[in-house]
């Protein structure tokens, strides 16, 4: 580090370079000008977005695709409040971000000055931690802490609010490595007696199932999970965020469990005598009615976050540890088990209850997803938005590799998928990146089409366009006597022309017969971003479905003939 005095903003950039940050996403503003001024002399590349929400979702997609920390620069007031949805999204899904917000000068804090928002206060419930820097000499330490907190333990977003006078002040040089976090503990080694207990439960189980969550991917424990599953012959269900932590094409893979999961995953869970969640938090989309969840099964829970243990499901055996060392230790002591009959039963379930959709008639969203996944040979990075298309993509996109499936899970943020794809493409220029979106969510952040064009990124937006907010329409149709309310997206633009006006290539699919030809053409197009507007059947519903708050055994495989009761669980 240089011994010359640096401004606060330069100190921030210095820390970024130490952290080997390559990209920053954001939008400038008055109180962030010192930060942007310091950027001019730095090799870090800045991606100017059209909206702060786009910036933070891009940083999020960048982080999920690469495992590195995503960085955002925004200004004070509205610049900072515009990233709240993105912070919430990243916090729910354990994504490492450092978000730097410009702020009014310290003398103006609390004075209702222009563009002054108490952003650190606003952020508390949706971040891993947040800082307001008032003393310039704290900058080096706080920045180092921010990066450490964001990408250690259970990762999450960290917000740093920096008043303009602090970023402009001169700061004392400071040696790196002087963190002061006495209240922050990362679990080290897994408890040996808990591991032995887990091993004996696993060995004794006749019908075990593993639920693998995103913790497996964050920890880089895919190989250890594969070894364990193959050694003991245990089927593995991957959560929405855990997709790619275990290969979807593997014979032991059950796909996604839960509300719109595969019937065989849900039936397997309902019948199992042991369920082990690894880096997964018994999300309500999977568990449904707690009283009816895996009633005959012993439960093992491996999680790095102690506050997840017994939060939803009481564990018979809990291991508070990082997934990779925990699985390594477990693999070291596991001997054998006999699940032959169970694996045969699983194979029968898979055969009897496959994922399916009607191919005849109008163009089906599932068919388009099925084909793009096949044509890209499951090698592309797929991002999604939230809603029907997300669930169909989770069902029909087969993901074999970690960090190749990016979706907003816990927060369910519409508008996430497209900017996340931009971030993922920046992180992985070697990859085909496909954003599968609906016409509702895409329009929430489509202003970033300009960003993709300027950055010359060959992202592909597969727009499953049904002119509806489809998932809400599905609920209204199934549970509210089809009284459609606020779901008709009349006034949608001509998306192909819109794409062209942003300098993109636009494709359109209207008929099933055109799907393969157009998708091939779009996948081959690498000169820049492209959009495929697929005009899909409007009234298709997502199945299987477990109504919110119901049990796994209450799963609907297709649209029921009789009227359904309103679900008791949340949305």
């Amino acid at each position: 580090m240089t011994t010359k005095k640096r401004t606060g903003a330069e100190a921030i950039i210095d820390t970024m370079q130490q952290q080997e940050i390559e990209y920053i996403f954001g939008v400038p503003g008055g109180n962030a000008i010192p930060l942007f001024d310091a950027l001019v002399d730095s090799p870090i590349k800045f991606v100017l977005t059209r909206h702060e929400q786009g910036a933070i979702h891009m940083a999020d997609g960048y982080a999920r695709a690469s495992g590195k920390t995503g960085v955002v620069f925004v200004t004070s007031g509205p610049g900072s409040t515009n990233v709240i949805t993105g912070l919430f999204t990243a916090n729910m899904d354990s994504v490492p971000l450092v978000v730097i917000c410009g702020q009014q000068i310290t003398a103006n804090l609390g004075m209702d000055a222009f563009q002054e928002a108490d952003i650190s206060g606003i952020s508390y419930p949706v971040v891993k931690h947040s800082y307001l820097i008032k003393n310039p000499n704290d900058i080096f330490r706080i920045m180092e802490e921010a990066f450490y907190l964001a990408n250690s333990g259970r990762p999450g977003p960290v917000l740093v609010d920096i008043p303009k006078d602090v970023s402009s002040a001169l700061v004392e040089p400071r040696p790196a490595g002087d963190l002061h976090l006495p209240g922050y503990h990362i679990p080290k080694e897994a408890d040996m007696s808990a591991l032995e207990h887990a091993a004996s439960l696993l060995e004794q189980a006749a019908r075990p199932v593993i639920i693998a969550g995103q913790g497996v991917i964050i920890s880089g424990a895919e190989k250890q999970l594969l070894y364990l599953a193959e050694k003991l012959r245990i089927p593995v269900a991957t959560t929405l965020l855990g997709k790619g932590g275990f290969p979807d094409h593997h014979e032991l893979c059950l796909g996604m469990p839960g509300m719109h999961g595969t019937a065989y995953a849900n039936k397997a869970l309902d019948a199992c005598d042991l369920v082990m969640a690894i880096g997964a938090r018994w999300d309500d989309r999977i568990v449904g009615n707690k009283a009816k969840f895996c009633t005959r099964a012993k439960k093992i829970h491996i999680d790095i976050d102690a506050s997840e243990i017994d939060k939803v499901i009481q564990a018979d055996c809990s291991i508070i540890a990082d997934a990779k060392p925990a699985l390594e230790a477990l693999n070291g002591i596991l001997r054998r088990s006999n699940t032959t009959e169970w694996i045969k039963q699983i194979a029968r379930l898979k055969k009897s209850f496959p994922l399916k959709y009607k191919k005849e008639g109008k163009l089906k969203a599932q068919y388009v997803i099925d084909e793009i996944c096949r044509l890209s040979e499951s090698r592309a990075i797929v991002t999604t938005d939230v809603g029907q298309h997300q669930m169909w993509a989770a069902q029909f996109c087969k993901t074999d590799l970690p960090r190749h499936w990016l979706s907003s899970g816990g927060a369910g943020t519409m508008g996430y998928g497209f900017p996340a794809a931009i971030g993922a493409q920046i992180a992985r220029p070697d990859k085909t990146v496909i954003a599968i979106v609906g016409d509702g969510g895409f329009q929430m952040t489509l202003c970033e089409m300009a960003t993709a064009f300027v950055q010359k990124l060959p992202v592909k937006v597969l727009l499953l366009n049904n002119n509806y907010l489809g998932m809400v329409r599905q609920w209204q149709s199934m549970f509210y006597d089809n009284r459609l309310s606020g779901v008709d997206l009349e006034g949608n633009p001509n998306f192909v022309k819109l794409a062209e006006s942003y300098g993109w290539k636009g494709f359109r699919i209207k008929r099933s017969a055109d799907v393969r030809r157009v998708l091939r053409e779009a996948l081959a197009y690498t000169q820049g971003p492209c959009l495929i507007d697929a005009e899909v059947e409007q009234h298709t519903n997502v199945f299987p479905m477990i109504p919110a708050g119901a049990g796994l055994c209450d799963m609907l495989l297709e649209a029921p003939k009789e009227k359904l009761e309103k679900p008791k669980g949340g949305t």
């Binding site: 650190s120 508390y124 419930p125 931690h129 907190l149 209240g183 102690a306 506050s307 939060k311």
Partner: protein, 171 residues
Amino acid sequence: METVQNGTIKKHTLSLLVSNKPGVLIRISLVFARRGYNIDSLVVSPSQDPAFSVMNIVATGDSQTLDQILKQLNKLVDVLHARDRTGEDIIERELAIIKLRCTPEVRTDILQIARAFSCDVVDLSDKSVTFQISGKTEKLDTANKVFEPFGIMEMVRTGKLLMARGEEATA
């Protein structure tokens, strides 16, 4: 509306050691508020080390939720320890200042009761008397009940103060 979980509703006594920084109290109270837990009393004071503060919290809610709250408190970067001390044999004290309506006719009665509770008179006027009383929460509750018929004009309580016995650290 959130349904109450299996645990029973009761008062819990918690002891925390936290960083002495602005915003820490908000982060802590947000954890309670989000789970519908009401904070009955809260004492914050500097610890021997000025970098840290001690917090004693009494809060009402069901026990199972409290386990979760404790874990979430311990997860906060600014919280060093959060412990449930309910029902443990530790030193518990609370102090109250009580202002009573007190005419010369009832003064003797009031002072007699005050003596029984080892109250100190801190202020006296022709129509009022103000006591300081300290002890366990239960003692203060009883004194409150006995003084009530005379007319309590004002009362303020510190909330529960906790200290572990012997050499053990409290938080």
